[in-house]
Amino acid sequence: MKRFAPTLAGLAVVLGLAALLQATIAAGWISGFVVSPPTRIVAAFAELARDDSLASAFLRTFGATFAAAALAALIGIPFGYLLYRLPLLGRAYESWIGALFSAPVVLLYPMFLVVFGRSVLVGVAMGFIVGAIPIVLKTREGFASVPPVLVAVARSFGASDRDVLHKVLLPAARPVIFTGVRLCLIYAMINVVAIEFLVNLGGLGYLVGDMYDQYDIPAMYAANVCVVLTSALFYFLSERIERWLVAR
């Protein structure tokens, strides 16, 4: 019981704030057109879920996020390995990639809009670029942190490059690489949803903008809650997987 006390307290505060909001709106202190009463948001949520616009939006966003993340892993991990194997390239590019990590790459999305048109590819491309950066950095870091003596022992037993990679480097670097994959998933999702919202491309981000354009304010709040829940789910699920991978 004691273990769950903070969780319960947090839940109680959230429910209490919702009740307070409901009361202030009912009393007319806050306009119901600006902030929807929580009961109406819940009702709108149920409605969105019923006419399966929610389910299809979910699937679109998930599909685009996983496509972007898979592409980022497929290209980012070999590229990280290349930077590890060729230290000259590693030294030349690592600080550039590090700078890109904190740079507002998403601002360049109109360039992809010009190239791909208004298509789901814009979101996938942005998710891929933003997601590949942590994978490349973490892959190189992971390989570089493998004790050289492990590689030397494998080599002294006549292991080929391929053997060293599969039997020594990858298993030893796996937790660090997964940290990169996890960051990739989170950043890819953030960028996919943001692009959906900005370009009206369908998916969860579009749902928010669409409800606002229709001036269905309760449904807009409900769609916002959906995005928050999905992002939080992504965050905690990937954290679990990471912990499990490290513990193994």
């Binding site: 903070p6 947090g10 000259l88 904190s102 998403v106 360039m111 943001a194 928010v208």
Partner: protein
């Protein structure tokens, strides 16, 4: 094998830039893609020069800079304040952590419609967007910093009957400078992104507005020029913040 002169690294970098530039020009001139999509880099450079010598551009730059700075300052102040409270009250921190972490991983731009309802469609909603974006990295870093404070110091202060406020001022705040700066670095980056995306989505002024207007009229070279200048400014602002932070940390 492991030792390379910095000349070799520089050579690789110059070669990379030249290769990308050449590839861009080849694509631009090949006629493989519709010519408007990939304009010659010289057209983009000319457009950059045109923008930089235009007074209107600096007006939009000032609008964006103001929105970023005000939003960033508000987000930082709120983030540090909430972080300090959560850091002192461990129970509250454990209760709030899932909500803060979950919201931190959410794309903030989807709150723009709510912010426009609350703060209007003008600069107010952009400032709020910047503040909301900056808040989360700052609060997370501040709570982390508070947790890093040696509990012995706090116990000693308590045994001397120090009040909560005294403990915050004399023990927590001095050790908060470094984590707060780390949070502010991340916060400035996301505040810039938040403000510019909000301008791109819906606004009448600012660099994001300029870029998306060029897109709407299909002035692609001008759009690339504005995006590249904006990108460079954002990277420069981040670098400046990083340098200022490092100096502050080193001076202590």
């Amino acid at each position: 094998m492991t030792r390379h002169s910095s000349h070799a690294v520089l050579a690789v970098r110059v070669a990379t830039v030249l290769a990308i530039w050449t590839a861009w020009e080849v694509v631009a001139r090949s006629g493989l893609v519709y010519e408007g999509v990939v304009p010659s880099s010289f057209l983009v450079l000319a457009a950059m020069a045109r923008e930089l010598s235009d007074a209107a551009f600096y007006h939009d730059m000032a609008v964006t800079a103001q929105e970023v700075l005000v939003g960033f300052a508000a987000g930082t102040v709120c983030g540090v304040a909430v972080g300090v409270v959560l850091g002192v009250r461990r129970f509250a921190d454990e209760a709030a952590a899932p909500y803060i972490q979950g919201l931190a991983a959410t794309p903030k731009i989807i709150f723009l419609p709510i912010l426009m309802l609350l703060f209007g469609v003008g600069s107010g909603s952009k400032i709020a967007m910047g503040g909301l974006s900056a808040f989360f990295p700052v609060v997370v870093a501040t709570v982390d910093g508070m947790k890093g404070v040696n509990p012995v110091l706090v116990r000693v202060a308590r045994s001397f009957n120090a009040s909560s406020w005294q403990i915050i001022r004399k023990i927590y705040l001095p050790s908060l400078v470094e984590p707060a700066i780390i949070g502010m670095r991340l916060g400035l980056g996301v505040a810039i992104i938040g403000v510019l995306l909000a301008e791109i989505k819906f606004s009448r002024a600012g660099l994001g507005h300029v870029a998306i207007q060029y897109y709407n009229f299909f002035h692609v070279a001008d759009m690339y020029a504005v995006l590249l200048i904006t990108f460079a400014l954002a990277v420069a602002a981040n670098a400046l913040m990083g340098m200022a932070g490092n100096r502050l940390i080193r001076r202590r």
